[in-house]
């Protein structure tokens, strides 16, 4: 398929998802409600104040996670490198688990404490990998990836510890949050997440050429004129901001960051000027669709969306491992 056609198809799919998802649900929405954004009847409130912010949040979160995944896969030259596997998401999760356990629910500096805690956790994880790249510049990307995996385990054990020592109510809240979900995401939460995602995306968009070259290897990128150290720092920073912001709002939602870039590489190629927008469209639409599914599967109860993405993601992961890798893939 020609890359341009791929992007157009993804844009169309994303547009359809964004339009259809708010209309789908247990409560039917009469079409006239579309014309009444300030209406007060139940259908209007559900559409405009509950479903629409939630669908938009899902889209923004999915787009951010997918773009972050694409960036990390390029920097580490490894298809398994994502903010998730490198401990960024579990670091953020640890931060949130910690404040849940301590029962802190304040708003500091205009942001909820959970957002700050998630960002801090994400930065601790990235800082660890970053220190390795700085202290030992010749560390291979495989070692960095393994360091990230080790961090993930460390964070998971700390989360389990917090959970084990928490009260039943707190423990349930932590577990529920770790499943990842958008049920509690409202306009305010969308507002807290959006700036981080936008700043992160801008940071990545600024480096599309460098991402291409980093995907060919650090030495080659440097010999072509890329300031590898500075570029990698910016990409780490941008991605942790983005993922920290998303995880704070939605919990750790797995596999979007790994899956979306892979599928999009097959559709539009590996050049990041096309791959990043394609992954954003795919990741956003995928998460919005999964979240709509999450609202419907057990209706009127809701399934955490993380359950669905991981349920679809894990078999995909296996397929990825077992298939013969096609040319044009990382």
């Amino acid at each position: 398929m020609r890359p341009r056609v791929g992007i157009l198809l993804l844009a169309a799919a994303a547009a359809v998802t964004l339009l259809a998802a708010p209309l789908i649900g247990v409560e039917p929405i009469p079409l006239v409600t579309l014309l009444e954004p300030r209406g007060t009847e139940p259908a209007a409130v559900i559409l405009w104040q509950i479903r629409l912010p939630r669908v938009l949040a899902a889209f923004v979160a999915g787009a951010g996670l997918a773009a972050g995944g694409a960036a990390f896969q390029a920097v580490f030259r490894n298809p398994l490198a994502t903010p998730y596997t490198l401990g960024v998401a579990s670091g953020a999760a640890l931060g949130v688990a910690l404040v849940s356990r301590l029962g802190v629910g304040l708003v500091a500096a205009l942001l909820p404490v959970t957002t700050l805690a998630a960002l801090t956790g994400a930065f601790v994880a990235v800082a660890t990998v970053w220190c390795l790249t700085r202290l030992r510049p010749q560390t291979s990307s495989t070692v960095l990836l393994l360091a990230g995996v080790a961090m993930t385990f460390l964070f998971s054990s700390l989360i389990l510890f917090l959970q084990y020592t928490a009260s039943l109510g707190n423990s349930y809240r932590i577990v529920r949050w770790l499943m990842g979900g958008l049920a509690a995401v409202d306009l305010a939460a969308l507002g807290h997440m959006l700036p981080f995602v936008l700043v992160g995306l801008a940071g990545l968009a600024w480096h599309v050429r460098e991402l291409d070259l980093l995907a060919t290897g650090v030495d080659l990128a440097a010999s072509r004129g890329v300031d590898v150290v500075r570029t990698r720092d910016v990409i780490f920073l941008a991605t942790s901001l983005m993922v920290g912001g998303v995880v704070a709002a939605c919990g750790p939602i797995g596999f979007v960051g790994m899956m979306a870039p892979h599928i999009c590489r097959l559709l539009v190629g590996a050049e990041h000027r096309r791959l990043l927008p394609a992954a954003m469209l795919f990741g956003g639409a995928f998460l919005a669709a999964c979240d709509t599914g999450a609202r419907l599967v057990l209706a009127p109860a809701e399934l955490p969306v993380g359950v669905i993405t991981s349920f679809l993601g894990a078999p995909f992961f296996l397929w990825l491992l077992l298939r013969k890798s096609a040319p044009g893939e990382l």
């Binding site: 010749q138 050429r209 291409d212 060919t216 030495d219 010999s223 004129g225 040319p327 893939e329």
Partner: protein
């Protein structure tokens, strides 16, 4: 006096806690084709990587086109020096065209497409390496020999006047070895690039290089014209093994062979 493309003075490199180069001095005149030879682990690749700033010098200095290496930023250096690393066999998810176009990075702005001058440089690089017919193929679908030619094309697209190649013919079949060697000969004549190759294939180096630098244990064991390295004592000192020097049948080209086998 011809200007030196590369000057290396008292270069020491510590790499992974081990001193790999112990004070190397070298001058590569502009337009020279220099072969760096020596046994495994002698520091050949490290010397090459130091000359393009990929590993830092712990002592000594490197001067590129009359200007110390540390006074270049990476983009400026990339416009002067192209580097073709050893093939690592890892996946590169790009088409040949994209990959060669990426070679224009040091000449490009943040976004936007390639200017006519960039496209001309890419086309020249594809033409001169004979890889035009591969442009729409995926890099990962190429044979080792094709991929090496494309790697050279991408480095040429940088527009550098000095080209450093690490083991450019290793792991290639005979036909591609000959093709790559012929390409380097051509580039050396027109446009007259300064070329430094690292190789453990002494015969290939002797056949085309104007000067040979032999490293042993991180120090210069020999530096001079190819013929002069053929002294049995010199070869023995470099390689630590008995080597026979013969000539190609019907020519006076030297042929260096180790004595192997028991028959």
């Amino acid at each position: 006096m011809t200007h030196a493309a590369l000057v290396v003075e008292g270069l020491r490199v510590v790499y992974g806690g081990r001193q790999v180069l112990h004070g190397v001095d070298l001058e590569v005149p502009t337009g020279q084709l220099l072969a760096v030879v020596g046994p495994n682990g002698a520091g050949k690749s490290t010397l090459l990587r130091a000359m393009t700033g990929l590993v830092p010098a712990s002592a000594g200095r490197i001067v590129v086109d009359g200007r110390p290496l540390e006074r270049y930023n990476r983009r400026e250096l990339a416009r002067r020096v192209g580097y073709v690393p050893q093939a690592d066999g890892r996946s590169m998810p790009f088409s040949v065209r994209s990959f060669v176009e990426m070679g224009r990075y040091p000449h490009l702005g943040r976004w936007g497409s390639l200017a006519p001058s960039d496209l001309a440089a890419v086309q020249w690089a594809l033409d001169v390496t004979g890889t035009v017919h591969l442009t729409d193929r995926a890099l990962d679908a190429l044979s080792g020999g094709e991929r090496q030619l494309v790697s050279i094309a991408a480095a040429l697209a940088q527009g550098a006047s000095t080209l450093l190649l690490d083991e450019p013919t290793s792991f290639l079949d005979y036909r591609h070895q000959v093709e790559v060697a012929a390409l380097l000969d051509r580039l050396h004549v027109e446009p007259g690039l300064t070329i430094v190759t690292v190789s453990h294939d002494l015969n290939a180096s002797l056949a085309s290089a104007e000067a040979v630098l032999a490293l042993r244990d991180g120090s210069v064991a020999f530096h001079g014209p190819p013929r002069a390295i053929l002294e049995p004592a010199t070869l023995q000192a470099i390689y630590d093994v008995e080597l026979q020097v013969a000539t190609w049948p019907g020519s006076d080209l030297p042929l260096v062979l180790p004595r192997t086998g028991s028959r």
